[in-house]
């Protein structure tokens, strides 16, 4: 295949990616958009495999087969609740691959004339790919550990962290300058090590609730790293695809941050300023009013208007289906029921929509925050299932709270509030919720699925 043909096929793949992103931003075209992206990726892969003079073709095919099996199995097996971690993991390995590609290219540059003729720009781009790729890899792995709760979800800081972070950052830049002046593979390897450290330091101080935004940011990082790698290899497809993801990822990160009422700087470095220290995670022993399933059933039965606030706890308990049955039962009794979906309910923006869609909750019942918030005043009962931070009034009333400034669902304005909770443990942000102690509030303790099925049978019995 000639160079021109290769270039044209890459161009087609690039167009597929642009249309894929376009498609993914609208509900009706999303699935086709994704498939089109996959088609572009397959086209590009087949194209590169036909490149003239490619060695180790069998080994390459085997490696692709291994990666395909691993990717498909992971993607098929994962529970929808664990999806954010999986996306973080996929992002991380992509960043790692980009860094390895840049290191190998550096190895070739060194082998060829000791890199004497290598253009400055190429070396700068190589250093950038290695640094950003490794930051993305290490950062994603820490993100994964936080979401999988392999480590604490609370911000981790220590006094030397800002100094270490600034030092590694400047060190990374200095090493890149060294690489340009004195081309050597070892400098590249040291850059990679610095990048790994930088990635860990970047994500450690980020609190659990903000981790999803970091995934999106690291996603953009990997994109930029791939783009720079494309420049190094002289491959336009990598440049275009990487830049597309870098730009749209950065934009998406800002959209998500503003949905939470936070700035990106605050999310990344807020904990360093001591802003997030309020999240003590302690359990208070103040009195609360708890009730049984029958009490909850009666409250629901006498309501005309019920709003459900689902949270991550619902998904963990796999209680979506039971909740839907309860809502069906209430609707059949003429009670108006809606779901209030906070933009960051679950562990990622839009995550709750995915989870409820899985339980076949009709789309019309899912209300976005801005649409439902004025309606809480008219609601007789708000049923909060496994959610906490998204209805915590501290976001409005307590400056200095980790979630201060985040728009919340106005559950406190309803006439009655019912919380289904496992325990008095605080939410993901690690702060106490005043609403639990409100006189209007009734708590039903227990596993969400268990509680819901008890409430369901109590409602049926009434």
């Amino acid at each position: 295949m000639s160079g021109t043909t290769l270039g044209l096929l890459y161009l087609i793949a690039a167009v597929c990616f642009i249309l894929a992103l376009k498609g993914l931003s609208s509900p009706r075209t999303a699935r086709n958009g994704n498939l089109l992206g996959a088609a572009g990726a397959v086209l590009a892969t087949v194209t590169v495999l036909t490149t003239k003079g490619l060695h180790h073709r069998e080994l390459i095919l085997i490696a692709i087969a291994v990666g395909t099996v691993a990717g498909v199995v992971a993607a098929r097996r994962v529970q929808m609740t664990q999806m954010p971690q999986l996306v973080a993991l996929f992002n991380g390995v992509g960043g790692g691959a980009a860094a390895l590609v840049a290191l190998l290219e550096l190895h070739e540059i060194v082998a060829f004339d000791k890199g004497a003729d290598a253009p400055t720009f190429t070396l700068v781009a190589t250093a950038f790919t290695i640094l950003v790729g490794t930051v993305s890899f290490a950062g994603s792995m820490v993100t994964f550990a936080k979401l999988q709760e392999l480590m604490t979800t609370r911000p981790v800081t220590f006094p030397a962290l800002p100094v270490l972070f600034a030092g590694s950052f400047l060190g990374g830049i200095a090493l890149s300058v060294v690489l340009v002046a004195n081309v050597s593979l070892w400098v590249g390897v040291v850059i990679a090590v610095v990048g790994l450290g930088l990635g860990v330091l970047l994500v450690l101080p980020v609190g659990g609730a903000d981790v999803p935004i970091v995934i999106s940011l690291l996603n953009a990082f990997t994109g930029l790293s791939v783009a720079a790698g494309g420049y190094v290899l002289g491959n336009t497809l990598l440049l275009i695809a990487g830049t597309l993801v870098g730009a749209s990822g950065t934009f998406l990160t800002r959209l998500m941050a503003s949905a939470m009422g936070r700035s990106l700087a605050n999310i990344l470095f807020g904990a360093l300023k001591g802003g997030s220290t309020l999240g003590g995670g302690e359990v208070s022993d103040r009195p609360v009013r708890s009730g049984g399933p029958e009490d909850v059933a009666i409250l629901l039965e006498y309501a005309n208007r019920v709003i459900i606030v689902p949270g991550y706890g619902l998904a963990v308990a796999q209680a979506q289906h039971t909740l839907r049955e309860l809502v069906d039962e209430l609707t059949a009794k003429g009670i108006e029921v809606d779901y209030a979906i906070h933009p960051v309910a679950g562990r990622m923006p839009g995550h709750m929509n995915v989870l409820l869609a899985e339980a076949q909750v009709p789309y019309e019942q899912l209300k976005e925050m801005d649409d439902i918030n004025p309606q809480f005043k008219q609601a007789d009962v708000v049923l909060v299932v496994g959610a906490n931070d998204v209805v915590n009034p501290a976001a409005k009333t307590t400056p200095g709270a980790p979630i201060y400034g985040m728009p919340i669902l106005a559950a406190d304005e309803a006439k009655q509030i019912i919380f289904l909770k496992r325990s008095m443990r605080p939410g993901f942000a690690g702060i106490e919720n005043e609403l639990l102690f409100d006189p209007k509030t009734t708590l039903l303790f227990g596993d969400a699925k268990d509680s819901l099925s008890k409430v369901l049978s109590a409602v049926k019995a009434l």
Binding site: A63, G67, M83, V87, L233, F251
Partner: protein, 99 residues
């Protein structure tokens, strides 16, 4: 900066604008699938991994290249499959009689 670098820069700048423009109207419902889909797209580093592995001269370089290929493929294939799984639920819902 050489003349060919200027072409690269042009492609880069235009791609930035396209990247922002195509997703500027996304609803928050689709943030997660969009992130996941974009994540799959940068798995295209696979093309780069294949190119460097295919020209590697030492065993060590080949091994590193093959690792890069496996990682990039996981990113790309896994990313598209998991995105499709999410979106399947969104579209499947419409066909449900109770929807």
């Amino acid at each position: 900066m050489s003349e060919s670098d200027l072409i690269w820069l042009t492609i880069f700048v235009l791609s930035v604008f396209v990247g922002v423009e195509v997703i500027s109207k996304v609803s928050s419902t689709l943030h997660t699938p969009l992130m996941s889909g974009a994540n799959a797209i940068h798995g295209i580093i696979l093309v780069g991994a294949v190119l460097v592995t295919g020209t590697s001269d030492s065993t060590a370089a080949t091994v590193v290249g093959l690792i890069a290929i496996v990682l990039a493929t996981i990113n790309m294939v896994g990313g598209f499959v998991v995105t499709d799984r999410m979106l399947q639920m969104f579209t499947g819902r419409k066909k449900e009689p109770r929807g």
